[in-house]
């Protein structure tokens, strides 16, 4: 029941924060942090992941690693565009 309450409060907070219309970077950081917290609560308490056996942890750990890899692959191909560090400039100037 405590977890249920926490999940409802976090849902309210994330909707509330979105109405503040923050700039993109803090909005993404706050929005995803709240989502991660909620997901962790569901996984730990509802899915009984807290105190689970190692045979569950290691495949999930591997999956988490590969999942991060999927997102990093986006960063590798779009990083230049996102952070404005176009290496191409070095060759075009002068």
């Amino acid at each position: 029941m405590f977890v249920f309450g926490a999940l409802l409060v976090l849902t309210l907070v994330t909707v509330g924060v979105s109405y503040l219309r923050l700039p993109e970077t803090p909005a993404v950081i706050i929005g995803l942090s709240i989502a991660l917290t909620k997901a962790a609560l569901v996984a730990m308490y509802f899915m009984h992941l807290k105190g689970e056996k190692p045979a569950v942890y290691w495949p999930l750990g591997l999956t988490a690693f590969l999942f991060v890899g999927l997102l990093v692959s986006v960063l590798l191909s779009e990083g230049d565009h996102l952070f404005g560090t176009e290496f191409g400039d070095a060759f075009t100037k002068e």
């Binding site: 029941m1 977890v3 249920f4 999940l7 409802l8 849902t11 994330t14 909707v15 924060v17 979105s18 993109e24 909005a27 993404v28 929005g31 995803l32 709240i34 989502a35 909620k38 997901a39 569901v42 996984a43 509802f46 899915m47 009984h48 056996k53 190692p54 045979a55 569950v56 495949p59 999930l60 591997l62 999956t63 988490a64 590969l66 999942f67 999927l70 997102l71 692959s73 986006v74 191909s77 779009e78 565009h81 996102l82």
Partner: protein
């Protein structure tokens, strides 16, 4: 042939086979949804312009659906908790405990199914509203991703409801014959159902709020 280790723990994994099986399946699901989330990140970060998402989609409806899905996860936990402590009593032939726990289980599993149904009704209202404004998956990249991600998620809700519906109805006969195995089935079905909830917990901010 008997399926091995449905209730007793397998010594080398320390788990029952269904428990290990559902987690391996969910690991593959993480990669399925992960590939779509990373496609979203790639297309959005590479796009010169992006629609203001909360102006295209309905945040109140999605917030309602978030609450509905979280509530249905809670009732799923209650459904399992109605059975799990009573397996030994049912095994020992306590007819009253069997009937009482089954009734309680049916109530909470029924509420879980209701939650899933409400979620799908709200989702279909959202979809038909988009279509009536001539917003289709082909309209732009954002809507393409929106319909793909939420459509795949809705499919998971439907599959979960089919499994839960079976366990509510004809599947519940197992509670009398093999109580431990039936309680395990509810736990495993619950782990899947909570995963569907977790996916929505990420879809909601990514597609609606940010």
């Amino acid at each position: 042939m008997e399926i091995p280790y449905t209730t007793e723990v397998r010594p080398d994994t320390g788990l029952t086979n269904p428990k290990l099986g559902i987690w391996l399946f969910l690991a593959s699901e993480v990669m399925l949804f992960g590939s779509l989330f990373s496609s979203y990140a790639l297309l959005r970060s590479g796009a010169p312009t992006w629609p203001v998402q909360h102006e295209v989609l309905s945040v109140p409806l999605a917030a309602l659906n978030t609450v509905v899905l979280i509530a249905s996860s809670v009732t799923m936990v209650m459904a399992w908790a109605s059975l799990a402590p009573h397996t030994a009593a049912v095994r020992a032939g306590d007819g009253e405990a069997e009937a009482r726990s089954l009734k309680r289980y049916r109530l909470f599993m029924g509420l879980t199914l209701l939650g899933g149904a409400i979620f799908l009704v709200v989702k279909s209202i959202e979809y038909s509203d988009k279509f009536s404004h001539h917003l289709y998956p082909a309209t732009n990249n954002f809507l393409g991703l929106y319909f793909t991600l939420t459509g795949l998620h809705a499919l998971h809700v439907i599959v979960g409801m089919i499994v839960n519906g079976f366990l509510w109805g004809p599947g519940a006969r197992m509670w009398r014959s093999e109580p431990e195995r039936f309680a395990n089935r509810i736990e495993v079905a619950g782990i899947y159902w909570h995963f569907v909830d977790v996916v929505w917990i990420f879809l909601f901010p990514v597609l609606y709020l940010l």
